[in-house]
Subunit: 136 residues, 3 copies
Amino acid sequence: MIEIKTLIFPSLVTVLTLILYFVLTANVGRARFKYKVPVPQISGNPDFERVFRVQQNTLEQLILLLPSLWLFSLFVSPIWGTGIGLIWVIGRILYAWGYYQAAEKRALGFGINSLSILVLLLGAIVGVIRAYLTFI
Amino acid sequence: MIEIKTLIFPSLVTVLTLILYFVLTANVGRARFKYKVPVPQISGNPDFERVFRVQQNTLEQLILLLPSLWLFSLFVSPIWGTGIGLIWVIGRILYAWGYYQAAEKRALGFGINSLSILVLLLGAIVGVIRAYLTFI
Amino acid sequence: MIEIKTLIFPSLVTVLTLILYFVLTANVGRARFKYKVPVPQISGNPDFERVFRVQQNTLEQLILLLPSLWLFSLFVSPIWGTGIGLIWVIGRILYAWGYYQAAEKRALGFGINSLSILVLLLGAIVGVIRAYLTFI
């Protein structure tokens, strides 16, 4: 039976990721203005394109991160899920402000992000299969 | 302890947002045909690009809206969460059919969307922190 | 009252979709290298563009599939939701490896995907409305 208490820790990480994504999305709007890239255009200026790709890549990762975080928290451990989720947030901050400067500077953050998602996803797989074998 | 009853209201808004997104996605397919933009191309014709950007921007917002809506509904109020979610749906309809006509006509809907997401997200942050301080 | 047992079946499909999406995303990185398309570029080479569109389209579908799958599983049937979700996974594999070869070869998988999402979404709508009429 799921209690609201179990959900507090993954919820804390979730709101952190959403705040970060909100900021990265607002940065795209400001970059459109700064580099004079009118909508609906999404290419043409490499400085704008980097800011845009940061937001797009974060969207591409969130659809993987959030379900993995929640399944890991429910089936393995909310505390560990939260810790690994926080590492993802730190990696994403490094990725974004690195990529804003130059494409090469995104590597460290991206590595941290990929690794933390992989751990959450593998943990979720193991946890769900274990729960399946226990309950059914 | 979470009961199915608590989930009904945010579920109603969620299916509404999904139906709207499904329609906006189908519109991209029709615009590909109408403006003769073959896959995998995503640019070249500004009329197509606007229809495509409506769907892409809705995707970019849904990853923010849906978790915020659910955390707000769980930790603050499902009724208020549902109301603000409905305002988002109305704003998105104004945004989409405005943007379909001209890029400038997306502003009102976009403002309503940004504001409703901001309220849900800020409410979720406050609600989760309050729950953390209460339970732990 | 929601028990962890009810969540096991949709969780199994969810991790399957996430593993598939993880593979399709890694394929984009490999295609960047193979076809020499440096970041932040996302167009220019049609072979790269097809690999990129497969991942993008999967992202566009996951935001629809995952909430539909979960609402269907909670309000209609977790077993049926899981079955239809598995059909989506098979369709997506056909879509991806078809599209990798040629744009025309994506049609069968895409049809299976659209149909399975439509069934889950319509089922979720009916299930949520029925729950609303029962409880309130």
